[in-house]
C-alpha cells in the first residue's frame, strides 16, 4: 500500500505520480508495478505501469499517459491527488531491466510514454557512475509530448525523432531505418526498445536488418496490433 506524495503534469495527457511505500524493498531500473483500484462496490481494475525510479528509495515515481478509452489511466491522470492511498504490487519483471554490472554500451529507444522505464535506466546509470556508454533515441509526436522534458534537456546523449512537429532544424516524420541507423550505437551494444507495438515491431526488425544481434535486443510493447 502506498500514499501519493504528489503529482505533476508531464505532457498534455501524461502525469508523474510520486508514491511513498514505506516497506518498499527497492527495485531495479526497468521494473514495473501493478496498480489496483477498488470501487465502492468492490469492483477492481488492475494495470501495470513502469517505474521511472529505481534503487532502495521508498518514494516511487510512475509516469502515466492517459489512454482515451482507458479505465485506470484516466483516473490516475485526472483524479488521483496527494494523500490518496494506492494499492501496489511489485516490483515485477526480471527481463527488461538494466543494472550497473552490465558493461556493454547501451542504446535506449523509446516511443512516446515508452520512455518511462528507460529514464529509470538513465538515472540508475548516472547514479552508479557506470562508464558504459548509454544513449537514448526518443521518438515522440511534438516537443510538448516529451516526458521528463526538463530533466532530459540537461543531457547531451539524446536524439529526438519528432513525428508531428518540432524545432525548425529537426527532421519531422516517423523514424526510418536510415535515421535509426544513423542514431544508434554500433552493433554489439545492448538495446532496449519500449513503446507502442507498431513502433517496437518496426524498430526491432530494422535493428536486426542492420546487423544487431537479436539476443541483445530487449523489447517491451503496449497496445494492440
Amino acid at each position: 500500500m502506498g500514499t501519493v506524495a504528489s503529482t505533476s503534469a508531464e505532457t498534455p495527457s501524461g502525469r508523474s505520480i510520486w508514491i511513498d511505500v514505506p516497506d518498499w524493498a527497492g527495485n531495479i531500473a526497468g521494473q514495473h508495478v501493478d496498480v489496483r483500484l477498488t470501487a465502492p462496490d468492490g469492483y477492481q481494475a488492475t494495470r501495470s505501469y513502469s517505474l521511472a525510479s529505481s534503487g532502495p528509495s521508498p518514494r516511487l515515481q510512475l509516469a502515466v499517459d492517459k489512454l482515451p478509452d482507458g479505465e485506470v489511466s484516466p483516473y490516475l491522470v485526472d483524479d488521483l491527488r496527494a494523500g490518496d492511498m494506492l494499492e501496489l504490487r511489485g516490483p515485477l519483471g526480471g527481463w527488461f531491466v538494466w543494472s550497473p554490472s552490465v558493461e556493454q554500451p547501451v542504446q535506449l529507444i523509446a516511443g512516446g510514454s515508452g520512455v518511462v522505464p528507460l529514464v529509470a535506466m538513465i538515472r540508475a546509470h548516472a547514479a552508479s557512475g557506470s562508464t558504459a556508454p548509454m544513449q537514448l533515441l526518443y521518438s515522440v509526436r511534438t516537443p510538448d509530448d516529451r516526458f521528463f522534458a526538463d530533466e532530459l534537456e540537461k543531457l547531451d546523449n539524446i536524439t529526438y525523432a519528432y513525428t508531428r512537429s518540432g524545432p525548425p532544424d529537426a527532421t519531422i516524420g516517423r523514424l526510418t531505418k536510415e535515421r535509426l541507423a544513423a542514431a544508434v550505437l554500433p552493433v554489439g551494444s545492448a538495446v532496449f526498445v519500449c513503446g507502442p507495438t507498431g513502433f517496437v515491431e518496426a524498430v526491432a526488425s530494422w535493428l536486426v536488418d542492420l546487423g544487431h544481434d537479436a539476443s541483445l535486443i530487449k523489447t517491451e510493447r503496449f497496445g494492440g496490433a
Binding site: A39, E71, G94, A214, R221
Partner: protein
C-alpha cells in the same frame, strides 16, 4: 484485504462468466514479446519432439500441413490482463503429433525460433487441450503473433502458447522456461490468477 480508491467508480463491469478474475476484454490483439520478431521461413521450418531416449520426431511444413487439422474456437487470456473471447484458430492437435511418441516423462519444454522457452506439464498438452496453430480468424498467423505457427494452449495464460514454435523436449522435472525464470508463475492458470511467483 483492500481499501476503496477515493473517487474511483470503475467504468466497465465485464460481468462475463467467461472472463477470469482480474482480466478485461479487448477487441484488438496486443503483443507481448521479449525481443524482435524472428523471420521464420516455412521452406526451412521444422518442428521436433525430443524424448528422454534422444529420439527426435520431425515434421517439416509440408508434413504438418498434410496432418488432420482442427478448427478451434476458444478464449485467450494474457497475463498482462487482456482477454479475447471467441477467437478462431486452425491447426494440428498435439494429440496427433504425440500419437507415436513414447515417453515416461511428465513435463515439456516448448522451444521457439528466436530462443524463447516455456514449460508445461505434459498432461496440459494432451487430450484436446493444445495445438500447433497456423491460422487465426481465417488468415495465416501474423509473424508478430507467432506466425508461421505457434503453440496454442488456451486454458493457460497465453505466454504458455509459445510463438514461432520449433520443438518440444520432454523433461523429468518441471524446469522453468523464459518468463518463468523472469518472475512469472510456473503453471499459469488464469482462473487461479497464477500470474507471478
Amino acid at each position: 484485504m483492500s481499501i476503496f480508491t477515493r473517487g474511483f467508480s470503475g467504468r466497465g463491469r465485464d460481468n462475463n462468466p467467461a472472463l477470469p478474475p482480474g482480466q478485461y476484454l479487448t477487441e484488438d490483439f496486443p503483443v507481448l514479446s521479449a525481443g524482435p520478431t524472428p523471420n521464420v521461413d516455412t521452406d526451412t521450418w521444422e518442428f521436433t519432439i525430443t524424448t528422454e531416449t534422444g529420439k527426435v520426431h520431425r515434421w517439416n511444413w509440408e508434413q504438418l500441413m498434410a496432418l488432420p487439422t482442427e478448427d478451434i474456437h476458444t478464449d485467450i487470456h494474457c497475463v498482462t490482463r487482456w482477454s479475447k473471447l471467441g477467437t478462431t484458430w486452425r491447426g494440428v492437435s498435439l494429440d496427433t503429433l504425440f500419437a507415436d511418441v513414447e515417453t515416461e516423462y511428465d513435463y515439456v519444454m516448448e522451444h521457439s525460433y528466436g530462443g524463447y522457452t516455456t514449460n508445461a506439464p505434459y498432461e496440459d498438452l494432451r487430450d484436446g487441450k493444445a495445438w500447433i496453430a497456423h491460422t487465426f480468424e481465417g488468415e495465416p498467423l501474423d509473424p508478430e503473433h507467432g506466425g508461421p505457427a505457434r503453440l496454442l494452449v488456451p486454458h493457460l495464460y497465453f505466454w504458455k502458447s509459445a510463438k514461432w514454435i520449433r520443438g518440444l523436449t520432454m523433461m523429468a522435472e518441471d524446469d522453468p522456461g523464459f518468463w518463468e525464470q523472469n518472475g512469472y508463475h510456473i503453471y499459469g492458470d488464469p482462473w487461479q490468477e497464477q500470474r507471478y511467483w
